[in-house]
Symmetry: C2
Subunit: 218 residues, 2 copies
Amino acid sequence: MKLQGAPRKSFRREGEDKRREDLIAATLECVAERGLAGATVREIALRADVTAGLIRYYFPTKDELIGAAYRAVMDRMTVQASDALKNAENDPRARLSAFVKANLGQPIMDPYNLSLWAGFIALVHADPAMAMAHRDGYLAFRDELEALIREALLAAEKPALPNHTRRHAIAINAIIDGLWLEGCLAGDIFADGELADTGITAIEAVLDISLKAEGGAT
Amino acid sequence: MKLQGAPRKSFRREGEDKRREDLIAATLECVAERGLAGATVREIALRADVTAGLIRYYFPTKDELIGAAYRAVMDRMTVQASDALKNAENDPRARLSAFVKANLGQPIMDPYNLSLWAGFIALVHADPAMAMAHRDGYLAFRDELEALIREALLAAEKPALPNHTRRHAIAINAIIDGLWLEGCLAGDIFADGELADTGITAIEAVLDISLKAEGGAT
DNA sequence: CGAGTATTTATACGCTTGCATAATTAGAGC
DNA sequence: GCTCTAATTATGCAAGCGTATAAATACTCG
């Protein structure tokens, strides 16, 4: 029984961009906290301080909202990693090192991000569109990495043949991804910065160059 | 209106173990094909050729079934990798190599497994019980790996201090996980065995030993 | 072969979900 | 300040969900 008829919710009209961003942010909150299953239209609307119907006004279907949210996560991580490069020194080896450190530290290496990422990855197998979106993101990341590797090798006066840099990019990408995973899942069992150090040491071994000094190999 | 009253489904009584296995297998099919969301009690029951009610007879709640399924996946991968060791030669370096190859080839490196794994990992953040289950699995895997590394180092007449082997285990675990991920997500853009080769080469570099020959380093 | 029981089916309930659509209202433009 | 429209709320629906529970049945043991 509803006493004194609830007054209709007051609202403000927001710009289209702002609303979309808010809805995506609310979606990510839901996914991170309670998994993909927790991201219901009603819960998302609640967090965005909006009624459920509005979601459909901006995203024809829930799946499209989810897809947009996934792209947002990937973009954010990519941007954060690239930002680290902007503020880095200009020695290629230092840049590669900074890139790795950025990916293996806050805010990228975070359980929150892993939850989001895993939830979406689980859909990749079932949804071809999302599969493509993911592959694009992966290849873009690896290409950026490969360029960094190439320059680092050249700076250390080592050959940088395409064959080799591709292989190195695959391996080093794996190191970064793998350590990122470990850190997200069980960050508390590692000392601060341990994973970044481990990653850099491993990468130095793979490339057979030092990323610290300005000298040559070893 | 239901014409000529459907005859009641005939059934056989199965052993408790068999039924549990069947239900878990059906669950995994669902998760792999349509994601965790696709694993509804009704769909699972359908695949197991059983009615939905029976699930509750063996698993008090759906979450318990999901948890059991997760453990089954991890166990299966662990067992498959260990099996590869049983059939391997007895030179420690060859054994480590075989272990890596097993993890980076069929049937472990498979989109099906990734879908399962990712779907579950997404829950880790929200469900402490599953988080613990995962951590146990991870540490067990890493310990097994660390033991292999230790013996490989000793066989190559290299020191194998705990500090170092731990670090190496972390790094090499990352290499395996990362390449496994890459392969599951985009196996078709790699040549056959390329990822396994890449992994072994990277591991050789990290440990500074050869995993092929019987000689010493390099 | 007959009785008893553990296993399985069948049915139903209460909730939540995504989506549709009608009613309302904030804010821009004249 | 009025009007018009696009943005937003409110309400409802049909489907699917997990779970509970009663009825039926296959198998075991004597």
